[in-house]
């Protein structure tokens, strides 16, 4: 009985991993998954920073220029809509747009835009975590609010939120598994396709293990970075 199980497992493994060099497909899928997560995080950071800065400048002024009020309104609409709808629906809508060349580009935009709405909140709390005295000190030296933000507030804020940004990347590694909905050949899609060809379920377990390893590895790296930071913060 035990022998039979082992034999059947081995044969499943052969079908889903070794035959016709199928392991190469996993590798391609893995590359795509990491690429999606990376591009998504980068686009998300850019958008998130932008949105956070708009909301910050809007909130710190008593009287606002009309264009800033408009921008703030757009920023609020953006975060509300994106955080209030499922990412799969967002992807499907993007993919349905006639000018979208393919699913990969739609995913780059989709995951970036989605992540941006969450990263904005991370940046906002990072900026708020810096003592107001820092802004006052910068302004009292004659620096503009923009220069103070750039040279004094943001460098400190970003250092504080680096772990959270890294978390966003880790989350995206997993979240991008829905990219298969719009014909992107990511790790999950690869497993699904191989399962369809071979009629065995093992590919799903294989990619689950691959996701787990990557996330575990990234978490280890994150912890190492955090330890180094907390060391440099100590008096």
């Amino acid at each position: 009985m035990r022998l039979f199980l082992a034999q059947s497992l081995w044969s499943d493994f052969q079908k889903s991993f070794i035959d016709k060099d199928r392991w190469l497909m996993y590798l391609d899928g893995l590359k795509m998954t990491l690429l999606l997560a990376l591009v998504g995080t980068i686009v998300g950071i850019i958008l998130g920073l932008l949105v956070a800065l708009i909301k910050y400048s809007y909130s710190t002024r008593k009287k606002n220029k009309p264009w800033l009020s408009l921008l703030n309104w757009v920023a609020n609409l953006y975060t509300t809509v994106i955080r209030g709808t499922p990412v799969v629906v967002q992807l499907l809508i993007l993919f349905s747009l006639s000018f979208m060349p393919n699913g990969v580009v739609a995913s780059f935009i989709g995951f970036g835009v989605n992540s941006g709405a969450y990263v904005a909140e991370v940046f906002r709390s990072g900026i708020n975590s810096i003592d107001v005295g820092q802004m006052e000190a910068g302004r009292s030296l004659g620096l503009s609010s923009r220069a103070t933000m750039r040279y004094i507030i943001l460098p400190q804020a970003i250092k504080n939120i680096l772990p959270a940004l890294f978390n966003e990347f880790i989350a995206l590694v997993k979240e991008t598994s829905v990219a298969g909905y719009i014909a992107v050949n990511d790790l999950t899609k690869v497993a699904d396709r191989i399962k369809g060809i071979t009629f065995v379920n093992l590919p799903l377990y294989i990619v689950a293990l691959m996701y787990l390893c990557i996330v575990y590895l990234l978490t280890l790296i994150q912890k190492r970075i955090e330890v180094r930071y907390s060391r440099s913060d100590r008096n």
């Binding site: 820092q134 009292s140 030296l141 620096l143």
Partner: protein, 240 residues
């Protein structure tokens, strides 16, 4: 040099500054004393517009800086400020703390600013700390760096907002020594302080504030030895 006319400021219902009018001449060392909550810090912070007055005017070198079309940043470049809590930039080295503003505002090249920082740090005996970060300094050292950081912009007036209130007692002396030094160099200064002995010794004029008003002002000898205002008499009897 600074002319304040009918300055008012309220936080909600609370009137912090009540129609204050005052003038500060070049070279004067004005100490502002008074109980906490009397509006002295708000008064000081209005001078470089860190607080926006509700009404009234402030004129600096013949220009109304409370006017709406004024470039606040360029005004502040001529007014140094020292805070109670130092507010050094923790992510920058001591030298970078001093050179950041002059360089970014194109007042000086990086090398000229570095040279000036070296001179300033030598003057306060902290040149060996130039390339360390603020968290390596004691409170007194931090405040001395904060003072020379403001001086590095070559301001025409220095505003001190309770510069020794956050310090351990044994560190107050070194900071006061530096402020005295700056005073002796002829700098115009406004100091909000609780150090009565220091105010008496360094100030050319002392303002007593209470309930958002300047209740009495005089040269230090007369103000401290012959106070006329009842509130000032009370206040002095408690702090002296």
């Amino acid at each position: 040099m600074i002319e304040i006319k009918q300055l008012c400021k309220s936080y909600g219902e609370l009137r912090v500054l009540n129609h204050i009018s005052e003038g500060i001449e070049r070279g004067e060392k004005v100490a502002v004393i008074g109980p906490s909550g009397s509006g002295k810090s708000t008064f000081l912070r209005c001078l470089n517009l860190l607080e926006k007055p509700d009404s009234g005017e402030i004129w600096f070198n013949g220009k109304e800086i409370t006017a709406t079309d004024i470039d606040t940043d360029s005004v502040r470049q001529h007014m140094g400020m020292v805070f109670q809590h130092f507010n050094l930039f923790p992510h920058l080295t001591i030298r970078q703390n001093i050179t950041l503003a002059p360089v970014k505002l194109k007042k000086q090249s990086q090398s000229a600013a570095d040279e000036q920082a070296t001179q300033l740090l030598t003057r306060i005996g902290l040149i060996d700390k130039a390339d360390t970060y603020p968290n390596m300094l004691s409170g007194g050292q931090k405040q001395r760096v904060a003072i020379v950081r403001a001086l590095a912009m070559n301001p025409e007036v220095m505003l001190f907002d309770e510069p020794t209130s956050a310090l351990d007692p044994e560190m107050i002396g070194e900071v006061l020594d530096l402020i005295r030094d700056v005073a002796d160099s002829g700098m115009t200064m406004v100091i909000v302080t609780h150090e009565m002995k220091f105010a008496r010794e360094v100030a050319s004029r002392v303002l007593f504030m209470d309930e958002g008003e300047i209740k009495e002002q005089n040269d230090p000898a007369n103000l401290f030895d012959a106070p006329k205002n009842k509130r000032l008499q009370d206040f002095l009897s408690k702090v002296l």
